[in-house]
């Protein structure tokens, strides 16, 4: 009982974590911008021909639109952060729209594109922790842009200072505790080297802890840097990033990230704390401010992630999808099915109904049983050595993948088909032979139709196995990065492509955090396919199962 529960619990945890990880990938934040398709940029040659439209710099148009949203962003660094909100690859989709309908040139269109994956993760609250609290007291800004000073009659920033000090002292305590433990370990260490290494580590921890002393000391100014939480002040419709605070809590220095509407004193302001330090996240304070501002203006919103299902692979996580791998899987499975099922069923019929019982057929039987237990990667080696190196077939092609998987699936199909044929009682054969049918007629007109449901069930289970197989396909080069989905047809069979499980493998090795949830989502798609296959097998078995 416990063993079963354990196995089921494993299954539950496995599926649960994957669903949990995948849940973030099904929606994403999209950025909608009004883009004016200026004639001289979209159509550089001025003749509205397709060649000319293809040379248009659409990314520049998107950049102009975004810049007009934030006129204050003018320095190179500001613009780089602003344009980091989306991927330049999106310009291609604008180009396709314009080429499809050249009359758009000169007008203003709404362009919807996925936000950069780091922005997306930030807005989803996955990578960055933040909080917003209302401020107390009245503060006065020195100017509305640039480096400014915020001042107040009351200690308005006392809360913020208290929080920063508390965080610093808890971190210092943790470091000191670690140093003490390391020293204790070092005292009892076996070798001199280990002792010295331990002591050095403890010394480093103490040095690091000492850096917090100035923050904790109530008399000195507090400076905020990339290793501390960021403190942003929202005031008069703008945002100021605080870089230093006076110890009395009455004054703060900072840089304006979003221009203030006025420099009047105001009591309605709030503290916006991004708790994850800048060094530990992939977006800057400025980008967070831009993203939130766009969200407030309704230009960034969360939608269902269609890219995940309709796009092929991409280097940019927000544009990557499983479509290419899906088509690759379909093509590969078609080849596998067309080869493995007829050959497997033919072999089963021959061995079960026609073959004389001699050493050759005995050898074939042993052979098939062994083949069923050969590791799948060995079939990949076979495919590489024979199909690719000897016959010169193309690498990474669904055709070769289908060949390899067909050889791998063959034993499964043969074994289950033989079982299905054996389950048909001999009386059926004898009755057919008795009324004058030939052996072939008896098999093909009577035994085979009765064994068909069992054969189909076995074949579908074999194909489902092949659908989830990865290792042999790695051997024949189906791990390539394929940005264009192969065409669904005969020519697609020799185009480089990849399949669903290999896509999962590729994404799981990607460094971007956003690929993690997309990997889980791709796994869910793959599992759905496999469940469909298996459900089909179970339904077939239930409907046509016959007990003799």
């Amino acid at each position: 009982m416990g063993a079963i529960a354990l196995a089921i619990a494993f299954l539950g945890v496995l599926l649960g974590t994957i669903v949990l990880q995948a849940s973030g990938a099904f929606t994403n934040y999209v950025l909608t911008l009004p883009v004016t398709l200026e004639r001289e940029i979209a159509d550089p040659r001025g003749d509205m021909s397709e060649a000319s439209l293809r040379r248009g710099s659409y990314n520049q148009l998107i950049q102009r639109s975004l810049q007009s949203e934030f006129p204050a962003a003018s320095s190179r660094a500001d613009l780089r952060e602003l344009f980091g909100l989306y991927s330049g690859l999106n310009a291609a989709s604008v180009m396709h729209r314009v080429i499809a309908d050249p009359s758009l040139v000169g007008s203003t269109i709404d362009v919807t594109m996925p936000a950069n994956h780091e922005i997306d993760l930030y807005l989803k609250g996955v990578t960055v922790e933040e909080s917003i609290t209302a401020g107390s007291g009245t503060i006065q800004a020195g100017a509305i842009s640039g480096d400014i000073t915020l001042s107040s009659d009351s200690p308005a920033f006392a809360n913020a200072i208290a929080r920063i000090r508390q965080q610093a002292s808890s971190e210092r305590d943790a470091l000191l505790g670690r140093a003490a433990r390391l020293e204790a370990d070092a005292a009892g260490a076996a070798s001199r080297d280990a002792r010295e290494a331990g002591l050095a580590a403890a010394r480093r921890a103490r040095e690091e802890a000492a850096r917090f002393d100035t923050v904790i000391d109530p008399e000195t100014r507090i400076t905020l840097g990339p290793r501390t939480a960021s403190l942003l002040i929202r005031l008069n419709g703008g945002v100021v990033a605080v870089s230093a605070l006076t110890p009395d809590g009455r004054e703060a220095e900072g840089r304006v990230l979003l221009p203030l509407e006025s420099a009047e004193a105001s009591a309605s302001w709030s503290e916006w704390v991004i708790e994850t330090p800048a060094a530990a996240r992939r977006i800057t304070d400025q980008q967070a401010v831009y993203a939130r501002a766009l969200e407030e203006r309704g230009m960034v919103e969360r939608r269902f992630n269609t890219n995940l299902f309709l796009n092929a692979d991409s280097r940019e996580p927000e544009l990557a999808g499983v479509m290419g791998a899906f088509i690759g899987s379909v093509l590969t499975m078609l080849v596998t099915m067309l080869l493995a099922v007829p050959i497997g069923v033919g072999t089963a019929i021959y061995l079960e109904e026609f073959a004389p019982k001699n050493r050759l057929t005995g050898f074939i039987e042993v052979n098939i049983n062994n083949l069923a237990a050969v590791p799948s990667i060995v079939f990949g080696l076979l495919g590489l050595a024979v199909f690719i190196n000897t016959f010169g077939m193309p690498r990474s092609a669904p055709l070769v993948g289908g060949f390899v998987l067909a050889l791998m699936t063959l034993p499964t199909v043969i074994i289950s088909s033989r079982a299905a044929l054996r389950a048909v009682p001999p009386s059926i054969r004898e009755a057919a032979l008795g009324i004058g049918a030939s052996r072939t007629q008896a098999v093909f007109q009577h035994v085979l139709p009765l064994a068909m449901p069992g054969i189909l069930t076995g074949s579908i289970i074999g194909l489902a196995q092949a659908l989830g197989e990865t290792a042999p396909l790695l051997m024949i080069g189906m791990v390539a990065f394929v940005a264009d989905a192969p065409s669904l047809g005969l020519s697609g069979l020799t185009q480089p492509s990849t399949v669903m499980p290999v896509q999962v493998f590729l994404w799981s090795g990607a460094s971007e955090r956003a690929f993690e949830m997309r990997t889980a989502a791709a796994i869910l798609v793959l599992l759905t396919l496999m469940i469909i296959f298996n459900a089909a097998a179970i339904i077939l078995r239930r409907r046509f199962e016959r007990r003799w």
């Binding site: 496995l14 052979n367 237990a373 298996n534």
Partner: protein
């Protein structure tokens, strides 16, 4: 492509026509003769259809397989003949050129020197072993010589290029001379670039794919390819159609009232089925021979030090770059891989054997039909989950969890990719495999044994422990052996979760590497197929194949003999 597609369609139509013609002819014969046919009219139809379809399709298939090769051979032969005068002039010029001859002599001299060095290395290795300083020094000396030789080669090739350039300059570009130039250029290309040259020429000639370059030589080759290609294509297609028509007519004259059409057709059917069953044997042969052949090439490349491969303890295939490098067999010591595989398999079996076995005992002896109804499908789902999913789970959930736990316990060197996380997850993967095999075995224990035990007054658990389990033991051992073979050959989980470092360790918290991981690492990404590094993957594959084969044979023997006992 277009032409052969149309021909294939025409052949299909002819086959159908053959069927109809055969059937109607048989019916007409029967009516005229007034007696009954030996075979049903349909069989006469099939007989004619087979004669019409099979030879035609055989020709078409042969063309599809070999057509391109034949066209290339003919055209290349023609190019070679056209280039003969140029080639002769080129060789004469080389022979008379001092710089070239000097470089050639230098290369030969260095070759001799390196052969002597290798001979010396043989003795040193025999005396001091592969991993010694003396070998290291010899290797450095060899690298120097190799460097000098590469230099000489560069001089020689550069000189040859200049001379070839001069010769080609003297030939006009137009007409027949272009083909000669193409042949000359092709003859001088290294092997791998010849394929590119041919692919480019084909792209220019037939528009299949994009050409990477477009030169007059390529144009000339393309121009030579076109007529040969269309002649052969038309020949093959018309030949196929002609054969089909001839077959149809020939078979039709055969038909008679007493003609045994059914027997002929059935013979073809059973021959086809027998051929299908040979594919399984061909697959095995293919595996054995391809692995063996490539492994032999690998062993030749490491000077037949098979023992170093099987028992060496240092695995660093990246350092052995050049074939024939002194002491490179020392980088291919596979023991760390075998140890890693064994460690992970052991961990996996420690999870899978008890859980799977207890699950099987529970399911077959205790569970009522309602529990079985949902527990079995759940186990089947667990078995159907692709291994790459388990790998992802091990990499992102189990690995970090175990590392944090080890850190919490005070083990500071904990890593995410560890033998333990890969082994645990692999164990979970194998549970359903063990449980379903053991379930079958336990169910096969005859009820009379249980009844006998109950009659003696044994309780249920006593019956299971003292009667059912011992009776099922051989079968369970077989099942566990199959599970071990499965674990040894499993790839994706270890590729993703066990790491790449070839550590020789028994510590499950370190990362280890396995046979399958190394095969994947060596064979993915850029590779040239002749380096010992790539070939070593096939030797590892051979070891894996033999290992699993032995396990499977023993397991199948055990299970089979057990079955016979109770049947």
């Amino acid at each position: 492509m277009q032409l052969s597609l149309i021909t294939a369609l025409a052949l299909l139509v002819l086959t159908a026509v053959g069927f109809l013609a055969g059937r109607s002819r048989a019916l007409a014969l029967a009516e005229k003769d007034g007696s009954r046919l030996h075979s049903l009219p349909g069989y006469h139809g099939y007989y004619v259809a087979l004669w019409a379809g099979l030879p035609g399709f055989a020709v078409l298939a042969a063309y599809a397989l070999a057509g391109t090769m034949i066209v290339n051979t003919i055209v290349l032969d023609r190019m070679e003949r056209a280039a003969e005068p140029l080639q002769a002039r080129y060789e004469l010029a080389l022979a008379n050129d001092d710089i070239w001859s000097e470089a050639e002599r230098e290369i030969a001299r260095l070759d001799d020197e390196m052969a002597a060095l290798r001979g010396e290395a043989e003795q040193v290795i025999a005396a001091e072993g592969v991993q010694s300083d003396a070998v290291e020094a010899l290797r450095a000396r060899q690298d120097e010589l190799q460097f000098a030789q590469d230099d000489a080669r560069f001089t020689r090739d550069a000189r040859a290029n200049t001379i070839a350039g001069d010769i080609i300059q003297a030939v006009p570009e137009a007409g027949d001379h272009a083909l000669a130039r193409a042949g000359f250029e092709f003859a001088r290309l290294p092997v791998q670039e010849r394929e590119v040259f041919l692919a480019d020429a084909r792209a220019l000639a037939f528009g299949d794919g994009l050409a990477s370059r477009d030169t007059p030589e390529l144009r000339a080759t393309a121009g030579a390819l076109q007529p040969v290609h269309s002649a052969i294509a038309w020949g093959a297609c018309l030949g196929a159609l002609g054969l089909a028509l001839a077959g149809l007519a020939f078979a039709r004259t055969h038909l008679a009232v007493r003609f045994r059409a059914r027997n002929r057709v059935e013979w073809v059917i059973s021959a086809t089925l027998a051929l299908a069953s040979l594919i399984a044997i061909l697959t095995t042969l293919g595996i054995v021979f391809s692995l063996l052949f490539e492994s032999l090439r690998f062993f030749a490349a490491i000077d037949w030090r098979v023992a170093d491969f099987l028992f060496g303890t240092q695995w660093s295939p990246q350092t052995a770059i050049r074939p024939g490098q002194i002491g490179q067999s020392g980088s291919f010591g596979a023991v760390p891989l075998f140890a890693g595989t064994a460690l992970i398999t052991l961990i996996a079996m420690m999870v899978a054997a008890p859980v799977g076995l207890f699950a099987a005992i529970y399911l077959s002896e205790y569970a009522d039909s309602r529990v079985r109804a949902w527990a079995k499908p759940a186990l089947e789902i667990l078995a159907g989950v692709p291994t790459v999913v388990y790998g992802f789970f091990a990499l992102l959930t189990v690995g970090p969890l175990l590392r944090d736990f080890a850190l919490f316990l005070g083990y500071e060197d904990a890593v995410t990719q560890s033998a333990l996380s890969a082994g645990l997850v692999m164990g979970v993967m194998i549970i359903p495999f063990v449980s379903s095999l053991s379930d079958d075995v336990i169910n096969a224990v005859p009820q009379s044994l249980r009844d006998g035990a109950y009659a003696m007054g044994a309780t249920k658990s006593e019956t299971i422990r003292h009667v059912v389990f011992p009776a099922a033991l051989p079968g369970i051992v077989g099942a566990l052996l199959l599970a071990v073979s499965r674990a040894v050959g499993e790839t994706m989980i270890v590729v993703m979760a066990a790491g790449q470092a070839a550590n020789l360790t028994a510590n499950p918290l370190e990362s280890v590497t396995t046979i399958t991981v190394q095969i994947v690492t060596l064979l993915t990404g850029d590779q040239e197929f002749n380096s010992p590094k790539t070939l070593s993957a096939f030797a590892l594959g051979l070891v894996l194949f033999v290992l699993t084969l032995i396990l499977n044979i023993i397991a199948l023997r055990v299970v089979q003999s057990y079955r016979e006992k109770y049947d």
